[in-house]
Amino acid sequence: MRTGLVELPLDIPALLAAVADPACGAQAIFVGTVRDRNEPEGGREVVAIEYSAYTVMAEKVLERIATELEAAAPDLRVALCHRIGRLAVGEASIAIVAASPRRDAALGAIRAALERVKSEAPIWKREIYADGGARWREDEPLAPPTLDDGTGSS
């Protein structure tokens, strides 16, 4: 699978294989995992995160992100998957892989893909805290697609 939502653990070797190309010497990978605190500086203790999604739209958005990034750079290949369901601390929620003949293109692509997933994909996390509480994180308001192309790219 090149892009998609998955309920089983993310398979990073499979994503690497999906972009493997003898012309590409640079592979960059981003793996997001569930942290034990809900802010980089600390915050509340987290025991799990429940990810949910508007599946049909999220899968279109993930595919569009990969396709648009590939269209913008020669020989770039991108694969990305997001997991949904309940994930324990340490489990991977997202994996993004890019392959290119050029390391800058591969490194730039995983950063760009991650920022776009975070701001464009209809996916939500609900943090489950050690103290028994829980909270939806709703950080990035979704914007309508740009008017001129109707595809939602920015």
Binding site: V117, I123, K125
Partner: protein, 93 residues
Amino acid sequence: MSREPPDATIQRMQVRLLAFASAAQAIGTGSCDWQLPGELSVRELRQRLAVDFPALAPLLPRLAIAVEGTVANPAAVVREGAEIALLPPVSGG
């Protein structure tokens, strides 16, 4: 669920309403059918949401509305049978 009075000049219609995250929590379900008085814009639909689902009112300013799987502009028209999704700010990644 519509509270419109019956009116022969208006073509009543039904859409499928999906709600996610805090929006689902606010209306108590992730999906339901929703009766509307007829074709209307997304801007008008947003106003009706506040009337028909008062618990959504505090969320509405930050809620995006998707029609058929794409976030819609306020002027977009909602038609019979459309899939309408209420999308709070997202937090994937």
